[in-house]
């Protein structure tokens, strides 16, 4: 018979054993911190273009020098410059510098810039891209284009003013802006401010850390006891096999929740992630996410007699799951076939629900479908796993 007491004793023992094992405890705390530091500091975010080396070849006099100065003094945050400027003579010099990776892009200002602007013609400035690094190149190019556009508008504003005066129209600043940018756009979101890449990735990291810890933890816990012989001591006691499974899953769930809370707090305190939704809903998503993984963890642990085999099997599941569940980049960017595969991975739904709550401030009704799918995943895999576990350990 399955009793809550048996489940409690097994879970308590597992947790006590875990807390006493210093190596496992340290890994448990260090791993999410390490993961967050890696993702938080290394992955590019909106302000992560800083001190990028770019080359400028300025053939022009007055206007070219002004533009060079604007680019050189562009700051991403107070005191932090976007670009380190290196000076060259021609486009070819810049290309050679990119080839030898001295710079990550460049701007060529032709000698006729002043002349063409003065004669009312459209001038052309060339941005040279570093095609070996698409991500940095895209961000650098977009920043340079924006700076050059704004500089161009600032140089043409006085001329527009004169033209408007000639046509007897009011040459107010608004009128000049209306001519320069006839259609403006404004941005609005569900909450104030912009989301950086880390805010996109943090809910995914949280789910990933917790769920993979549960998956590997459960598998390792059963196979470790099997290998050391202590599982026999539990199996020979008059307790049901379901109590053993639930006790072990309970211990792993508590560990997983603690780890999830560590990730959440670190993200908020050190990386400025905002929790726009309900904290209890975040915990509910984590719990149901854990539930969806328990069956899979049991199946793997039951089929692997040794800890090493269990770890290898789990790695085989885990590795593709991390890339296909949308932790690091949106599922919508993947090829269609991969998007279909991502739909059968419970982590996908846990991450989707977590983003809705953490970033968009979604309520229970917004994540209802994700949660139903997680429950269904958990129930189906558990229904398969429990009898398989019973059979595997006594055959």
């Amino acid at each position: 018979m399955t009793t809550p007491f048996d489940i409690f004793y097994i879970a308590k023992k597992d947790l006590l054993e875990f807390v006493r094992d210093r190596t496992r405890l340290i890994t448990f705390i260090i791993m999410p911190i390490f993961m967050l530091i890696m993702v938080g500091f290394i992955f590019p975010s909106q302000t992560s273009i800083k001190n990028i080396n770019i080359g400028i070849a300025n053939q022009d006099g007055n206007t070219g020098t002004k533009l060079t100065s604007v680019i050189a003094n562009l700051e991403v945050t107070s005191g932090t410059k976007a670009f380190n400027i290196k000076y060259y003579n021609s486009v070819n010099d810049i290309k050679n510098a990119i080839r030898s990776q001295q710079v990550n892009g460049g701007v060529y200002i032709p000698s006729n810039l002043d002349k063409e602007l003065a004669s009312g013609q459209q001038a052309t400035i060339t941005i040279v891209q570093d095609q070996s690094n698409p991500q940095v190149s895209a961000l650098t190019t977009a920043t340079l284009q924006k700076v050059i556009d704004e500089f161009g508008q600032s140089t043409s504003a006085p001329k527009i003013g004169v033209m408007l005066t000639k046509t007897k129209a009011a040459a107010s600043q608004e009128a000049i802006t209306a001519v320069l940018t006839p259609i403006d756009t404004t941005l609005t979101g569900l909450f104030p401010g912009n989301t950086n890449y880390f805010e996109f990735v943090a809910p995914g990291i949280m789910c990933m850390v917790v769920l993979t810890a549960v998956l590997t933890g459960l598998g390792a816990s059963v196979s470790r006891e099997r290998e050391s012989g202590t599982l026999d001591g539990i199996l020979i006691a008059p307790v049901s096999r379901l109590s053993i499974i639930l006790g072990k899953a309970g211990a792993q769930s508590i560990r997983g929740l603690c780890q999830g809370i560590i990730v959440l707090l670190l993200s908020i305190i050190f990386f400025g992630v905002k929790l726009n939704g309900n904290f209890l809903l975040v915990l509910l998503i984590l719990l149901l996410g854990i539930f969806s993984f328990v069956g899979m963890g049991i199946l793997v642990s039951a089929s692997a007699a040794e800890q090493e085999t269990a770890t290898q099997l789990l790695f085989m599941f885990q590795f593709p799951m991390l890339f296909l569940s949308g932790v690091f980049f949106p599922i919508q960017q993947m090829p269609q076939i991969m998007q279909y595969i991502s739909k059968v991975i419970p982590l996908t739904y846990a991450i989707s629900a977590m983003r809705k709550v953490m970033i968009l401030g979604g309520s229970l009704s917004a994540v209802r479908n994700d949660l139903i799918i997680l429950i269904a995943f958990g129930a189906v895999t558990l229904l398969i796993a429990v009898p398989v576990f019973k059979k595997m350990i006594t055959h």
Binding site: F5, D6, Y9, I10, K13, L16, E17, R20, D21, S228, G229, T230, D232, G233, I234, L235, I236, A237, P238, V239, T394, H395
Partner: protein, 273 residues
């Protein structure tokens, strides 16, 4: 007629094509120290695992303390204790935490667990080590706590799978004396061992298992009488006469139908008559 406490009928265990235990039948009387001997891979541990409900038999049946090992598993578990080949203790827990955990899994109250620990720990010289982490113990100390763990429920039958393997002579002596003491108090002991001196000293009857089958079963005295070519045979002589001198490990796993040499009544000519 002594009461039968273990009744095994045509018990068989197959792992795919490999027959680990082949149709064995035997009884164990209440209060016996029943020795289970045999070469490596002979099927001793598999038989013990079936009798302790850790493995499901492929064929045949067995009753332990009157309960069927397949149908009444929980009842069987309530009447047995197991000291397995591997020590069943958690290294990161103290001795008492281990005992409390296994006691509670056997639905014992905390007071009763403490009472039983106080009863058995001093007998094995472990009273002052209750609050020490098991990881700090020597193999001998671990085995002594392991035996106390198996005795917490004061079972009818205690299964001991090589309880003195790798222990120093002092601990071995202590454990052997303790086994005798438990038996005198009425506990039935099933002892698996490779130590023929231990088997000779402790066992009322001995079953020699070879190739998954019972090759010989009798009292140690009767078994010795059946070795004709030695004037004063030991249990080792009996064992070799029954199982032969061929090293089995690989052969027994690779092919269960390996020719059986040296059995009583049909073995290698000249050794057993």
């Amino acid at each position: 007629m002594p009461e039968t406490i273990i009744e095994v009928k045509n018990l068989t265990k197959k792992f795919k094509d490999f027959v680990a235990v082949d149709n064995i039948t035997f009884d164990v009387a209440k209060g016996e120290i029943f020795g289970f001997l045999g070469p490596n891979g002979a099927g001793k541990s598999t038989t013990i695992r079936m009798l302790t409900t850790l493995l499901t038999p492929s064929k045949g049946s067995a009753k332990v303390s009157g309960f069927d090992i397949v149908k009444d598993q929980n009842e069987v578990r309530k009447h047995i204790g197991l000291v397995a080949e591997k020590i069943i203790l958690y290294n990161h827990l103290t001795a008492m935490e281990n005992l409390e955990f296994f006691g509670k899994l056997n639905h014992m109250k905390k007071d009763l667990i403490r009472q039983r620990a106080d009863k058995w720990l001093p007998r094995l010289g472990m009273k002052s080590w209750t609050n020490t982490s098991v990881s700090a113990f020597s193999t001998g100390m671990k085995q002594r706590i392991n035996i106390v763990r198996a005795l917490l429920t004061e079972p009818d039958i205690l299964f001991l799978d090589e309880p003195t393997l790798g222990l120093d002579p002092q601990t071995t002596f202590m454990i052997r004396t303790f086994i005798e003491e438990l038996n005198k108090q009425g506990m039935t002991i099933i002892l698996t061992t490779h130590d023929m001196i231990e088997a000779d000293a402790l066992c009322t009857r001995v079953a020699i298992i070879d190739h998954g089958d019972v090759a010989a079963l009798d009292t140690t005295e009767n078994l010795k009488k059946r070795v004709k070519d030695k004037s004063n045979p030991t249990m080792e002589d009996v064992f070799l006469a029954v199982t032969g001198t061929e090293v089995r490990d690989a052969a027994s796993k690779a092919n269960v139908s390996t020719p059986r040499h040296g059995r009583f009544g049909g073995g290698t000519p000249g050794r057993i008559r």
